[in-house]
Symmetry: C2
Subunit: 113 residues, 2 copies
């Protein structure tokens, strides 16, 4: 009996709302998925996501760093090496993103505008 009501509340939950908008920002989902196998340098990310610009990748990485979904590591090598990796919070996005990927595989085709 309580089921429909709890679904309705879930629709309104500000945390859910925030998460959807965070993940839905252009390129954010792609950046997170590309980082799942392991840390990457800026140029590796740029190469792995065709179509993204330097400027936009920089912007998205900063946003994701601010919300602690990714971490920027500066490795003390010579020359200094900078890489980006997912935090725990970031890694746990794998499940929702995979579920969305399965949905997209099934339902998004060429017919969809």
């Amino acid at each position: 009996m309580a089921e429909p009501h709890s679904d309705e509340s879930a629709g309104l939950c500000p945390r859910f709302h925030r998460a959807v908008e965070l993940i839905g920002r252009r390129w954010t989902g792609a950046i997170i998925r590309v980082l799942i196998p392991g840390p990457k340098r800026f140029n590796e990310l740029l190469a792995a996501i065709p179509g993204i610009s330097d400027r936009l990748l920089t912007e998205r990485l900063r946003e994701l760093e601010t919300v602690e979904i990714i971490r920027r590591d500066v490795l003390p090598e010579s020359p200094v090496r900078v890489q980006y990796e997912l935090t725990c919070r970031g890694h746990e996005l794998r499940e929702p993103l995979d579920a969305l990927g399965r949905w997209a595989e099934r339902w998004i085709g060429e017919a969809l505008p």
Copy 2:
């Protein structure tokens, strides 16, 4: 051995990309979640999603109708009754949205900007 590569491809998949951007549009996730328990009329949706305007709800409903995530039903009553409901494609978004809701519950707090 093929795992990292297949993850990278998943990051780039245009269908996945399209799905993330579709779901991430402001209010779209909330509208879908509010429709999960069953069909609703325009004013019921408006009441269930505090903060959304008439204009934006109309716009989002049209977008979701275009991509066949919701269906607009005109019931032959007097006066005519219009309601919105999820299609199959829409109902199957429940899993990814629930997974994202669990992530948000766990990781998004007041500390997150």
